[in-house]
């Protein structure tokens, strides 16, 4: 090899590297910039937001939008409702999904394959198709416009059962057999032997349930109507269509959108590693 090409190759590779990083940084900017605009606009005055929407520096800086949301709107009620529903749904799913997942993975009983097939069928039903159906039953049961109607239908999910089932199948049964020989009942084994070992899978369920119920909109539209039961998604959606405001009121709307993103964002950054791995595990085929 002659020396000129040898020196040229790394230079070409370097150019490639620079181009790659430039492309990646540009793309990342496109993905991140909207959220920066959201936060920046929420501390702008309405006039400033309209005059210079692109700028990330508020001129002047004002917390008026947040003040308005917390002191003179139903925003705190919405936030509290979302929190209550999310906590109850997450707790319910962690418990019931792992119970059923354990039964499907470990317990032998007549009808197990039928239960399994039924859960697969359930997962195939698109959620949007269930809007009217869910309202009909909630209404028929007399739990329309109550926490019961908002929480109960979300309390279990078939996908979570599968995640738990797959996890239980992946751990050796020997520990449970030891406990069984020692005379522990099935629930006792599940509760004090199996569940503590299932932490990684339980964290996955917590993440998915938290995100799912915090971001849920359509179910709350069909299960409740009174202002005192409005969740964040429903409340902020009503803000978007302009029920609080004269004019565009973008700082207030974006402040509300930013605040409702905070809990899921915190969740995401705390469990970042787990989330990336969870979705990787979910599609192993």
């Amino acid at each position: 090899m002659n020396p000129t090409t040898r020196r040229r190759l790394p230079r070409k590779a370097l150019a490639g590297q620079v181009a790659l990083y430039a492309l990646l940084i540009a793309l990342a900017l496109v993905y991140v910039y909207p959220f920066l605009v959201q936060v920046a606009t929420s501390v702008k005055t309405e006039a400033d937001a309209a005059a210079d929407p692109v700028s990330l520096i508020p001129d002047p800086l004002t917390w008026a939008a947040y003040g308005r949301l917390f002191l003179r709107s139903d925003f705190p009620v919405w936030f509290a409702n979302s929190a209550v529903v999310t906590v109850l749904v997450t707790a319910g799913r962690v418990f019931f999904d792992s119970l059923a997942g354990y039964a499907l993975a470990r317990l032998r009983f007549r009808g197990r394959s039928v239960v399994y097939a039924a859960l697969v069928a359930v997962m195939a039903v698109p959620a949007v198709v269930l809007l009217i159906p869910k309202f009909l039953v909630i209404n028929q049961l007399g739990i329309y416009d109550s926490y019961a109607g908002m929480v109960l239908p979300l309390l279990v999910d078939a996908a979570g059962v599968f995640i738990m089932k797959n996890f239980f199948e992946s751990i050796p049964a020997s520990v449970e057999e030891q406990a069984r020989i020692d005379g522990a009942g099935t629930f006792r084994i599940f509760w004090s032997v199996v569940l503590p070992m299932a932490r990684p899978a339980l964290v996955t369920i917590v993440i998915l349930s938290f995100q799912g119920s915090w971001n849920e909109l359509s179910h709350f539209i069909v299960s409740a109507q009174s202002p005192s039961l409005t969740t964040l998604t429903k409340g902020v959606a009503s803000l978007a269509s302009g029920q609080l405001s004269q004019g565009s009121q973008y700082p207030i709307k974006l402040a509300a959108a930013a605040l409702m993103t905070v809990p899921v964002a915190v969740m995401f950054f705390v469990f970042q590693r787990r989330i990336m791995n969870a979705s990787e595990g979910a599609v192993k085929e």
Binding site: P34, F109, L232, V283
Partner: protein, 349 residues
Amino acid sequence: MSALATAPRRAGSPRGLRRGEALAGWAFTAPVLLILGVFLLVPVLMALWVSFSDWSGRGSPLSSDVGFVGLDNYAAVTTGGGLAERDFGVALRNNAWYVLLVVPLQTALSLFLAVLVNRAVLRGRGAFRTAFYFPSVTSSVAITVLWLFLFSTSGVVNTVLARLGIAGPNWFNEPSGVLHNLLGALGVRSGPQALTEHGFLGLSWWDWLAGPSVAMSAFVLMAIFTTSGTFMLLFLAGLQNLGPDVDEAAMVDGANGWQRFWRITLPQLRPTLFTVLTLGLIGSWQVFDQIYTGTQGGPGKTTLTPAYLSYQSAFLSQEWGRGAAIAFILFVIIVLLTILQRWILRERR
């Protein structure tokens, strides 16, 4: 002592143990079965009944004064010739264009992002992945609110376009179809008679070919923005499962990066590609949150989708039978398209 106590139990035949297991099995699955039965199976059956009835939303749909009307509700939206049929046609057209754009674009972009951040030697790999994935964790309502601001008439997007010398459209207030606009720019302002005089579901073929409205296009961009991160993770997992040996062999044979991607990597990613396309197809036929939050079907019904139309018919117009019928037709469309797609992408020998 404990050995003595457990000895008879152990000897007490596995059958006794098994019987307890059967009971526990049903007890453990009972809560899930009960809740899914009451809030999923029963509702679907009830809604099926409502779709064949003239229930007006007052009282219980199961009471005796609710009449059975056969396929009337289905007929009203498919062959009725009235506004209901036209609305359904418009909603199908809007959503079909949405799917046609969103599914290929989100798949291509997420694959592209995955390939970019999959490099072994890449500084800030985690940061880039986080940036691309973050939009996926936020709620559709929050993103829609943000999108309404970004794409407002004098919003961020139009300001940036203006700096590039382009006059941006009035995004969420612009009902004109993108394809019609392109043809218009070429001087074609109305369709040939063959297309304008005949049609389907109360909509002329010319109108079916309008393309997504400018407003719908903004939603298309939003869908791509929010889903590409999730699908990027799926592709990353797929890429990481591939062994390096085939790729290295191809490299030794002198294949360049481009050839290796199309001939080696992509065929091996087939299972992931299949998953992404299926999830994308199912998801993009269920456009509801964005429309409810952002446009309520406007402007000029060009962001109306079957899912939103179903909600609107039932909850706002009290046409419950019609709303339920639309939901079931949508269900059938999703199932049929999923089957069709499986058939097209099946493994050929």
